[in-house]
Amino acid sequence: MSRALVLLIALHMRGLGRYLTRSLRTVRGALTALLGGFFFVMWVTLLLLTPERSIGIAPDTLRRNGPAFLLLYCLMNVFMSSSERAIYFSPAEVNFLFSGPFSRRELLAYKILLSLLVSLPSSLIIAILVRVHATWFVAVYIALLMGVLFQQLFGMCVSLIATTIGARAYTRSRRILLWCVIAVGAIALLQAAGSPSGWRSRYLLESVTSTSTWQVVSTPLRWFFDAFLSERLWPDLVVNVGLAMSVNLVLLGVVFALDANYLEAAATSSARIYAQIQRFRRGGMATAGRSGKPRFGLPDLPYWGGVGPILWRQLTTAVRGMGRLLVVFGLIAVFVVAPLLARSEEADSAAPGGLIVGLVIWLTVFLTQMVPFDFRGDVDHIAILKTLPLPAWRLAVGQLLAPVLLVTGAQWATLFAARLLRPEDSNVLLALAAFAPPFNFLLFGLENALFLRFPVRVAATTPGDFQAVGRNLLFMLAKLAVLMLVGGTALVAALLTGLVTQLLLNTSGRFEAADIATFAYLAGGFAGWLVVAGCGMALLPLIALAFRAFDVGRDTPA
């Protein structure tokens, strides 16, 4: 590889070091970095104190099923990628390297080496996390690095083959392959359905992975898991890592042998991916989708003192990025909500209400970052918002309503599903549904007030950025403190109102005990609702103030 490219990698590393230590120049930055570093060290220490193999997957299970998951992961990367498969280079790399005096092979070597170096720290963290499934940390780390390299080389091979056979043929072949995989999967599922163990995925996977064909095909992949589970340096680790390395070397050989003219596809595809990354940096995952041709639009909303047009714009942005968001909702529904509810049914739990409350809270916390269709997603449009002929508080209402509506919708859908599964919890679910809108308004109000006061991009964290970790932690604590304060106040208000109502109705002597209890609950609930809603509304002047104080030149984050 060219010495200039080695120098470039060294300069990248130096630049990263500079970037990560930039925060230490200010007292605030140093303190948040210190806090982030402290919590990170605590977390790692806790993980390291967990004994190896204590709660892990059985080695045989890992050896048997691991290769299938690794292959599935690599295939998923191929299927989920854009139709014009290409190796990603940043725009700066396209600018400086593609027209520079470097051969295509040198650029590939640079890309592989850079990715491997970048994966060194991230693999270390993953190794700490997954070490409970193995016996020797060193083996885990080396095997993970081998796995990362395999995944990258596999992707590169597919990209270069795609470039060699042409984009159209590649898309056609990929579609045929995808249909083949779906057909095989469907046949296997139908066979499994006919077996005594039925649809249970564990048995299905076992029956597939125990076939002799799979055993032979998956042998090279199994070497990675053998390396992962190695207990000694010799012969276990050396032999298994050697075998895994040989797989990677074969792939590397294919990559270099193909030497396809990938630059054009890479330049085009990289520009598109970079645009997606930029959109992601501006507004998070929900806004990162393709900026394709808009297929539909929302009808105009009434003016509502200026709130309508603002809400319409945010909802339009949200709806256009909804595909990705719906995929996330679907995944949550399939992998989180359904199993949890099913488990609560199986166990005949006495307190499913608690489970549902927990689920809704978790969903809310998760979705808060997923739907930044407010000031957070408008980080590069604050200047335009400031020029609008609207009072700041109305602008704030318009900005907050879109995420509030979206999250409330998702929560109500979850609660409705829970209602169908557990009709006996209707009252709890109804109460949760009633509290959702004011709570969401309060939550997004807090998020936006904090954002405008301490602006940071939704998705701008770099691995190892302790300042970002510390800042997120402080924000989380601040939000939690405010929510607890509001929650406590609402609870006290609800209790007091409930007691007073009960007392008054008892004194009147005109109601049955059951009616009095119902009225007391309703009055208490309403008082609590008013407190939460009032606190949310009280944030509006603060948000308006923070918006007015936002200096576009100074406060717009990099």
Binding site: L8, G15, N95
Partner: protein
């Protein structure tokens, strides 16, 4: 000739981006590459820079075929795209350092300092790429391009984002560089800005050349017709009826 393009075609599926153009640029010449959006200017420059491959035709930089001898050709050229993006975390000086290493330059520091000074980047020497303004990024890209004395310089909209001082010094830099023996292609829409700089003009429309000739010859032709048009007026007139335009070979 430092830059030679022979029957260059670029076809995407059923779309013909460039339909067989041929031209050459001699050392010391500054070719104005003009045309409306989608005419094929950037596609041609990117093909000359070795970023995209031609569908047919051949492209040469300092005698080296861009497709068959890419490294040798690229060692003699510098390309500045319309929207240069520096490495976010590398400082201005580190960009120069990398460029010097890439083109095997030994004594480059004095020239680097001089370029920093001329491009008014001295104060930004240790600033990372992510902290540079649009104009500064443009200047940095030009600085890196000129550091290694390329024989062919390809500039796509080089004045975008520059203030009047920056524009003037950029034009002087391009003129000096061409005077030093390099062949320069400048693609731009700002014709009035470059009127005094171009030595040759090439007008593209929908992937075809509709005018190509020495600027002086073009002026003579216009005065013979009794016209006193600026470059911009000529461009607008020709683009209104591109099919009636005549092709002039220098």
């Amino acid at each position: 000739m430092s830059i030679v393009v022979e029957d260059y075609h670029k076809i995407y599926g059923e779309t013909v981006a460039v339909a067989g153009i041929s031209f050459s640029v001699a050392p010391g010449e500054i070719l104005g590459f003009v045309g409306p959006n989608g005419a094929g200017k950037t596609t041609t420059l990117r093909a000359l820079a070795g970023i995209i491959a031609p569908t047919f035709g051949r492209l040469f930089i300092a005698g080296h075929d861009v497709v068959h001898e890419p490294v040798a050709a690229k060692a003699q050229l510098a390309y500045v795209p319309d929207e240069p993006v520096p490495f976010e975390r590398l400082t201005v000086w580190e960009h120069f350092r990398f460029t010097a290493a890439a083109y095997h330059l030994r004594e480059w520091r004095a020239r680097g300092e001089a370029l920093l000074d001329r491009l008014e980047l001295t104060e930004k020497r240790d600033a990372p790429g992510s902290e540079l303004s649009r104009g500064m990024k443009q200047k940095l890209a030009i600085g890196c391009a000129l550091l290694h004395h390329p024989k062919a310089l390809l500039l796509d909209e080089p004045l975008t984002g520059l203030d009047p001082f920056g524009s003037r010094s950029m034009k002087e830099l391009i003129r000096d560089f061409a005077a030093g023996g390099a062949a320069v292609i400048v693609s731009s829409h700002q014709l009035s800005e470059f009127q005094s700089l171009f030595t040759t003009l090439l007008m593209l429309h929908r992937g075809r050349i509709i005018r190509f000739g020495k600027l002086e010859e073009l002026r003579n032709e216009l005065s013979a017709e009794g016209r006193s048009e600026t470059l911009e007026e000529l461009f607008l007139r020709v683009m209104k009826q591109p099919e009636r335009a005549t092709e002039l070979q220098p």
